[in-house]
Symmetry: C2
Subunit: 280 residues, 2 copies
Amino acid sequence: AHLDALLPSEKTAPETIHKAMRYSIFAGGKRLRPVLCLAACEACGGDPKNALTPACASEMLHTYSLIHDDLPCMDDDDYRRGRLTNHKIFGDGVAVLAGDALLNESFLALASYEPLETRFSPLDFIKSLSSAGGSKNLIGGQIMDIEAEGKSNEITYKALVKIHEGKTGALLTSAIEMGGMAANATASQQDSLRRFGSNIGLAFQVIDDILDVTQDSASLGKTAGKDLLMEKATYPALLGLEKAKEIAEELTSNAINAAQELPEPSVLLVLADYLLKRKK
Amino acid sequence: AHLDALLPSEKTAPETIHKAMRYSIFAGGKRLRPVLCLAACEACGGDPKNALTPACASEMLHTYSLIHDDLPCMDDDDYRRGRLTNHKIFGDGVAVLAGDALLNESFLALASYEPLETRFSPLDFIKSLSSAGGSKNLIGGQIMDIEAEGKSNEITYKALVKIHEGKTGALLTSAIEMGGMAANATASQQDSLRRFGSNIGLAFQVIDDILDVTQDSASLGKTAGKDLLMEKATYPALLGLEKAKEIAEELTSNAINAAQELPEPSVLLVLADYLLKRKK
């Protein structure tokens, strides 16, 4: 409902761009980043309602990155979240612009955000999100990912972690950090949240790689076996499936330990467990 | 120099993305938006140095929109500012990401901006820029432009103005408005600046259309005759070359009148005259 309220309606001119933005935002993803943002707010004793705008901003930024990532000149994916990708419906040009518009909109939303009962200003949230989304983090990870394609034999475990810290970890951690900021978290709570974020972010990606080889496209809602096809380095390929599962468990356990330092961690703990056991 | 200071160096990892961002930013454009921003600051009695960060943010946002606009799935242009377009050098995938990164970086720059001697906060600047760059303005204009392709016979003068108010006018006006904000402009000065901006923005586009049919590619630094080829509606096509020139003069004259309401308009006046007489 909050995403719906923040985004221009489909009837807003020019209709095509708003339809395209909403098509991908309301495609029924897991909403992992916003849920983590709200749960992090609650974990630090805040009212999750106060974190709704940064939660939605993180989802807009994530969705823009998916739309661009799926383009023929990037990963060239036809399916996402169980339906045709944005460019398959609206064409490549409109898909580029729909991604651009969602990125822009995420900052417009934060610029109009009025955080309550916290020492953090909207600027602090904008800094967190634009840093996570920038060329040294999310976009940096995507560039490294492109450059690593077809070189799956040369990539080390360390290099693979670096790609995913950028591609996935930075934005997950920012969503979690912004949740803490909305709860006026102490410096020590922010530190716990960041450790939770970096461990859960990496665990998320290891599990994603495992699912890509163990699940089919229908259950994933996107093309399975894609990593092998694109000659991408993955954790199962580097470490073997069993060792990759062990690492996912270890990272999840680290995340759980960090969350338990917080006053109200119950939802964060449920999420950590759900992410480890998920089948898509 | 300020753009150079704001952007990560080419040696910053991952190097490819920072090289690609800098390739287009330092391709020697007219710097029209930043110059208008600084001149607007001066016109309202401010020190142009105080407007350097919003000036650079407007150029980053403009450059991202050019990189994406030049992509094969959009206008498919091989030359821009006299050299190969971003995707011709770095490939389409990296060009998409370089545009994304510049858009993101424009907000990161404003989030760290510390305006001096003005009642406006960085958030006011972020609101102005993200509104101008959003789906109802800059991106909206690009969508309308895509949808109007091949329909040059059906487009009315009013519809053409609407496309360009979005595509060009909104960002030019935001750059000018931010210059005024950096000078702590009064509401009445902001009103004069906005009238200057909307008239100069439209004049700029009418002249662009005229140059596209009267100049060759070498003097333009980009592909001439492109509008005709893409079956785009243009002012000369709609009105005839002579009438289009008259309208450009009339709009420039409106802009000059608005600028003359300000305390120190001399640079704005020089710019208005330069834009009318430019050959590229």
